[in-house]
Subunit: 248 residues, 4 copies
Amino acid sequence: MKVLDHGYVTLVESWGNDERIIEAARMSTDKGFLGWGPNVCKHCKMRPDDFRAKDSCYNGPHEFTPGDEKLLAYLYRHKHMTPFEMAGMIIEVQAPIFVFREWHRHRTQSYNEMSARYIPLPDVNYMPTTERLMLNAGERNRQASSHQGMMCEANADVFQKQLDQAYYQAQSVYSAALSNGVPKELARLILPVGRYSRMRASANLRNWLQFLTLRMDVAAQWEIQQYANAVAELISNKFPRTYELFKS
Amino acid sequence: MKVLDHGYVTLVESWGNDERIIEAARMSTDKGFLGWGPNVCKHCKMRPDDFRAKDSCYNGPHEFTPGDEKLLAYLYRHKHMTPFEMAGMIIEVQAPIFVFREWHRHRTQSYNEMSARYIPLPDVNYMPTTERLMLNAGERNRQASSHQGMMCEANADVFQKQLDQAYYQAQSVYSAALSNGVPKELARLILPVGRYSRMRASANLRNWLQFLTLRMDVAAQWEIQQYANAVAELISNKFPRTYELFKS
Amino acid sequence: MKVLDHGYVTLVESWGNDERIIEAARMSTDKGFLGWGPNVCKHCKMRPDDFRAKDSCYNGPHEFTPGDEKLLAYLYRHKHMTPFEMAGMIIEVQAPIFVFREWHRHRTQSYNEMSARYIPLPDVNYMPTTERLMLNAGERNRQASSHQGMMCEANADVFQKQLDQAYYQAQSVYSAALSNGVPKELARLILPVGRYSRMRASANLRNWLQFLTLRMDVAAQWEIQQYANAVAELISNKFPRTYELFKS
Amino acid sequence: MKVLDHGYVTLVESWGNDERIIEAARMSTDKGFLGWGPNVCKHCKMRPDDFRAKDSCYNGPHEFTPGDEKLLAYLYRHKHMTPFEMAGMIIEVQAPIFVFREWHRHRTQSYNEMSARYIPLPDVNYMPTTERLMLNAGERNRQASSHQGMMCEANADVFQKQLDQAYYQAQSVYSAALSNGVPKELARLILPVGRYSRMRASANLRNWLQFLTLRMDVAAQWEIQQYANAVAELISNKFPRTYELFKS
């Protein structure tokens, strides 16, 4: 799943699913997962649309109880979040260093990242589009607002050219240093935070949802929002009922 | 406490102390802190050098038990580390971004860092000395070793000059971008990981010791070792007996 | 601070304060704590009620900016919680085992508890009052509701007598076992979860607030609510402005 | 997998495997999993026993590099543990409450436990065998040693009888209380810590190994050692190469 100009998010592995969350929550009452769907009779577990359904069961009239999606919703809305720790996901991500700097503040995830101490980082850098650069132009956004001047397409163009040139020069110094025997761990000093790196990240579902809450928020930087959107898509594929609750 | 060319580590606040650790450990047996020093009689709590000391107490001859430094040593050596969570320290640190990138992998600390989304980062950058650049020259160190060429003073000199110039150019692009209304959060793309940032970090003593274990190690990058040494000095001031055990 | 019939909560130590939280948050913009109070002029830092205050300062008319309590409120309401990790508190608690069982599910706290493996637990047990036993009588509370019968004062009385007797018998078996050489770690098998134990608990302010959120809630068991109320009082003493925000 | 008289440990789900750990570790150098086995040529990736193997490859003579089990061993021995966070396991456990009390001190696991607030706990209690009761008899084990008397088979017999009777009485009071409308959350006060409960627990492999380190240790109580042994067996099935390293 492509993100920004050279980044991606890709699923390595997931575990658990929406049913598993119900099972874990039901530990407290010693029942398991009963089934999704409209509802089941609390005596005979028969559903209203079952072909064997009559007006009554061995215990008198059917008493249809809510389907397990109601328990899932109850857990989520009342913030009983520990069952959501019984599922999770490992992903691989390529993103600029400044995005990883924000990402790594999530201390409940596990990380393994490419290291410029061990290998030269490939010469891949993030170049924001003009559209992105103009995103908040004209607004009085405290965080993203201009420092002094006023953003316009001409200025965006100038910045892109200067950034491109500066990336090029940084790479020249970097590769010259490596050729001259400067240790990798010091040659990297000049690498800009716009350079791409790569990592694997693992977390349980509860913590991924917390990541999404903070990083899909409008207050988050646009770039990490794009990554959060990609993570959200993976989650909605693997845990569709939980994701539905998250979104609503 | 100065570290590298423009960095520092400074104590904001600490809590607990070596005695507090003993007290916490003694919760399990419902005793408190008894005292450092050679030893005390287990019946009358008198010490051998007490002026009232005779050969015996109300319970017969004195039975001198070990001083509490022995319990501290026992806890530490047998890895009963939870009592060491009952003390801690908050520090303020100025360090290059590449050092913070390593530091922030310690997920048991709390961080508040200066943010280039909100203010322009000051133009302060890390310049390694020739001595530092030559540190592992000639060695066959897998991590730090040269990529192709062979490190020598001439090459170190070239690198310092190029790095200085590249820092200068990055700053030119950065400040021009800010002047032209490029959002701070994007102008920063060109900032090199050698630029200094600043943060506060809080952790309990157990986790600070874990930080020292990993970052004072010879396998850690020399720069973060310098910071770890500074942190170690703060710890040895505030928790001298625990630090003694850590070092030995 | 007495809680239930034989329990208590007491402050061992705290660190940080409301000002320290502001300081930590201001790391991002490189300013420190500016002061509480109505507001200050953003140019000269003078307050409206300052005796030197005139209509203007060196920069023209005063522009009064909000006092730092507004930043504190902003942080809290927008869930920027990391600055609240820069303060904390260690307490000592005596509570029944079933309360500790719930308490220890808070995995961000540090614990040191009395251990029945090492010393015999004192014969102190929790006896709920009649008022407490009747608390939800008549209600259709799913959790607390009666199993079969209907709660009334006569039944409460019977339960108290039976519980008292059962506590007594458990203690008889326990002390006989200890006298007969049964290892402490096995003699304890018969100890009821109503027996008191003791611990120290440490957490940062953010995590204490999370504890309060879950345990002062009406859905929490009444007994742990009493402990949470006691913790809340300690927090309101040490961090009055933060606690005010928590409550509102 | 049966543990003690009425307990069990059973695998719910695992994720990752020994290969996945290598892949995660190789993020730092941008290579993937290369293969177990004796070794491979670092140029052509051919193995010594490959039928196409000749003395040389396109790059000159073969240079056989170590198989990935050597990297796994290197990571484990040098405590590079983050790659071991990229695998994990969810289990279901039935164990006495006093075992869960120790287990839940592992704050890096996720738990969902049966709750006596919501359902009556089944009348299943732990009865130690005579052999178990005599385990440390005669020894001077500080923790497990007798309080006053001397353990012998006669005393073990007496304890078993008294414990059995006390369990019976506790259950009588419990079920009477439930019948009389005492809230479940209070009726449970009399339940002994020898009673069985049930939970699901999830952790990554690094944290499961840490659990094993502490709980397979001779200093751990014999009962939790039995559970740790069962967990170890599940781990050795799912992560055989990692477990081999743990054991050695």
